[in-house]
């Protein structure tokens, strides 16, 4: 098999999966399938699928709108309707999209939710977001509160709290909307499948320890998390996707190849960087190109862990479905306290032999951004590596200043070079 065939296989698979999913969603009003809107971090995909419900993730729609350059209009629409300039733009993008007809990323109309599953993981804005959507759609909401790992560990009380809500509140709500009883065997099958895909994803992340790295764990990484963090985790298609991705990575390792980027293969890898914070979606390609042009490969990133930190050992476990779902919700990256986040990044720097650390501070997102400058100082102290700090936004094009970011990054890379020469 040659590289380009290998490359295409997983990407084509993902594209097909997404296309089919949105098609099924568009047909939901006729087919009678019920729709659940829910959030990516700590999502309960296996549980939703066990009831044969269709998930929609508003953040994914927002990021897709960002990539398709529609988010600016949507955000302005929401602001026209009275939403503040100061708040999370994902919410405004979603509300603007709804006001403009709720056309999804494939150009087809998204069905309204039959239920809003407010899984409350790692961000308070989620709570407000669904309060707002509840007013727009007038449909029921079910709340799953996920406590914060304030001391860097999951306590028994936290796990029990989440598991109990799942059993006593979430499952009955899903039963009500689907008209079905929970089939625990089906749930276990789905969880077992998730665990297999998770094994393969971890293999992919860890491949970045090779030199050259066969993956870009940030820009490429956001594609790799697509199926597992959204509507597909638990399904055979998802497993097949990660198997295929893994064999592509193996192929690249065997041939000493770098990751495929929009600008071609990144074989000459001058700097290895760990990234904290989400990417900017409105200028995603341009942003990526800045790094590509400098020969920078991202060897690990925290954004790709918002839906689960599998490399730390967590797997969905069919032997204890509710407890493992609870642990999954509790374990997402932004649900960990700042010291734990610093530990995770420091470990990445060490294990992936990074040359530096980049923080992309997102205007919208206090969940990620509040305190990032302090994390950066702490990391510089602990790892001895230099960090760069830039500011942008997820989907608001007004806050992506290409020239500023480019200048800042260029001086950062010059500094890394000078440091290297001096060493």
């Amino acid at each position: 098999m040659n590289a380009s065939v290998q490359k295409e296989e997983s990407m084509v698979m993902q594209k097909k999966m997404i296309g089919e999913h949105f098609e099924t969603l568009a047909r939901a009003p006729e087919s009678g399938r019920k729709v659940v809107y829910t959030f990516v971090p700590g999502n309960l995909n296996e549980l939703i699928l066990a009831f044969d419900l269709l998930p929609v993730h508003p953040e994914v729609n927002a990021l897709q709108s960002g990539m398709r350059k529609l988010s600016g209009d949507y955000i302005q629409e929401a602001e026209k309707q009275g939403h503040s300039e100061d708040v999370c733009t994902y919410v405004k993008c979603d509300i603007g999209m709804l006001k403009k007809g709720n056309i999804g990323p494939t150009g087809e109309k998204l069905p309204p939710p039959d239920l809003l599953l407010l899984s409350y993981t790692g961000c308070f804005t989620f709570m407000k977001w669904f309060e707002l959507l509840k007013q727009e759609y007038g449909c029921p909401v079910v709340m799953l509160q996920v406590p914060y790992q304030a001391d860097g560990t999951i306590t028994a009380s936290q796990r029990e709290f989440v598991a109990r809500q799942l059993r006593e509140v979430v499952v009955p709500a899903l039963e009500e909307v689907s008209g079905k009883k929970l089939d625990e065997d089906r749930l276990k099958e789905l969880l077992a499948s998730s665990a297999r895909a998770e094994d393969d994803l971890v293999y992919v992340w860890e491949s970045a320890k090779h030199r050259p790295s066969p993956i870009d764990a940030y820009f490429g990484g956001v594609y790799y998390i697509g199926p597992i963090f959204t509507a597909f985790r638990g399904l055979p298609d998802c497993e097949a996707y990660y198997r295929s991705l893994r064999s592509e990575v193996d192929y690249r390792i065997a041939h000493g190849m770098g990751p495929t980027t929009p600008e071609g293969e990144l074989r000459e890898q001058k700097y290895r960087i760990v990234v904290e914070g989400p990417p900017n979606w409105t200028s995603f390609r341009d942003f990526w190109k800045i790094f590509h042009d400098e020969g920078v490969v991202m060897v690990a990133s925290t954004y790709t862990k918002v839906g689960g930190l599998y490399e730390q050992g967590f797997r969905h476990d069919p032997a204890k479905p509710f407890e493992s779902l609870a642990e999954y919700c509790l374990g997402c990256y932004t649900n960990r306290n700042l010291p734990a986040r610093v530990d995770i990044i420091a470990k990445y720097v060490e294990e992936y032999e990074a040359d530096g650390i980049l923080f992309n501070s997102i205007k919208s997102c206090n969940s990620f951004s509040a305190g990032q400058l302090m994390m950066l100082r702490e990391l510089e102290k602990r790892t001895g590596k230099s960090g760069a700090f830039i500011e942008s936004d997820l989907v608001d094009p007004r806050y992506f200043s290409a020239a500023n970011i480019k200048n800042r990054l260029e001086s950062y890379f010059q500094m890394l070079e000078a440091k290297r020469q001096a060493a």
């Binding site: 009275g82 503040s84 100061d86 708040v87 804005t125 809500q165």
Partner: protein
């Protein structure tokens, strides 16, 4: 003491960013003090363990930010910046611990920053239930039991049932005095200028509860008797300021704009509970029940059901207000994301409103005064906002 002396004292406490009165309390009693960020913490529980709960509400407009800016990105509210500034400048050194209630991602992350910055100090993030069923109640009970244990360890004092009940009684009394103050202002706003009420509230952040209640009662008595001219002002509810507090100059500007503020949500933790906490055999359960069953619907709290905004509308009706001013700290996610829902509820009920943002060190009070004034004029002239 006359009203002026009481208010002067409260203003000195408001400006005392070094927490001199907390230091005095510690020297006098030999006790320890625990700081807490807005909005709400169960202060009776801290008090019962012999500790002084101290409300930390940022630096206002008196603190120059020198170090705090290096810790935060551009797009964030001001209170974490000034709190870090106070911490790094040693102005919070007299606090033996800090509590960070779960209200937003900023305060949440600040708890982790505090762990990193002050490794020797006690730091606790308190997760409040957002789900008001059996699981939420059990979880919160567990959280409070562990907080109580920590408080006891910090002070070396066991919070017996008796002590807990005593503290509950003191805080019930304080809440009643505050309620009486708010009721008097709503009934006769000319007798309780909001700037005075605000300073009285702020004093409760640093004074031991019984001393604070005594001041409130003394003020209440004097205020009832005082004669002040009544103006043809518009009665408004101010909402959205539950965390980062406005500077005193802004409060004064608002009340000099032709508005009588007849309800508000500043220093909300002090009035978070709507009724008493029961005194009895199981005081910890009573504190949990009081939170679960009778607290205000503020932006940091999830509202189940369909009546989002109903609390605000009811507040307007009860206080016979003619309009609402939404004032929120810039970049305050909970307040600003909540705002459209509150506005919708008001619009449906035909209640006029206006909105602006501020920050604790805002210098632009003239603009705010003009906006509040225009709002008041438009209500007077047409009964609606322009």
């Amino acid at each position: 003491m006359g009203i002026k002396a009481i208010i002067d004292r409260c203003e000195r406490l408001y400006r005392d960013v070094d927490l001199g009165c907390v230091q005095e309390w510690k020297a006098r009693t030999g006790g320890k003090a625990v700081g807490h960020m807005p909005v709400y913490v169960p202060r009776e529980l801290i008090h019962a363990a012999g500790l002084l709960p101290v409300g930390v509400m940022g630096g206002g407009d008196d603190v120059e930010i020198i170090r705090g800016d290096a810790y935060f990105q551009s797009y964030i509210c001001h209170i974490p910046r000034s709190t870090v500034e106070l911490g790094l400048a040693g102005k919070l050194d007299c606090l033996d611990g800090m509590l960070f209630p779960a209200i937003c991602d900023v305060i949440r992350n600040l708890s982790g920053m505090w762990q990193l910055m002050f490794p020797g100090k006690y730091v606790k993030y308190i997760d409040f239930p957002q789900t008001f069923n059996g699981a939420g109640r059990e979880f919160y009970r567990f959280e409070l039991a562990s907080l109580l244990l920590d408080m006891e360890q910090l002070s070396g004092v066991r919070a017996t049932r008796e002590r807990l009940n005593q503290s509950i009684a003191l805080y019930n009394d304080n809440r009643r005095a505050l309620a009486a103050l708010y009721d008097l202002r709503a009934a006769e706003p000319s007798k309780v200028p909001t700037s005075e009420l605000y300073l009285l509230l702020r004093a409760g952040n640093v004074l031991e509860v019984s001393e604070h209640t005594a001041i409130l009662r003394e003020y209440l008595q004097l205020a009832r008797e005082r004669g002040r001219p009544r103006h043809d002002n518009v009665r408004v509810v101010v909402t959205g300021l539950f965390c980062e507090q406005p500077p005193l100059s802004m409060v004064r500007a608002m009340e000099n704009s032709g508005c009588y503020i007849v309800d508000d949500d500043w220093v909300l933790g002090a009035r978070y509970q709507l009724g008493d906490t029961a005194i009895g055999e199981r005081p910890l359960d009573a504190i949990v029940d009081a939170y679960m069953d009778g607290t205000v619907a503020t932006a940091t709290r999830y509202v189940e059901g369909d009546d989002k905004g109903a609390f605000l509308v009811e507040q307007v009706r009860q206080r016979r207000a003619e309009g609402v001013i939404f004032a929120a700290a810039s970049f305050c996610d909970p307040a600003l994301l909540d705002r459209p829902m509150g506005q919708k509820a008001l619009a449906d009920a035909g209640i006029p409103y206006t909105s602006f943002t501020y920050s604790e060190n805002t210098g632009q009070v003239q603009v705010i005064k003009e906006q509040a004034g225009t709002f008041a004029d438009s209500i007077k002239l047409w009964g609606v906002a322009a």
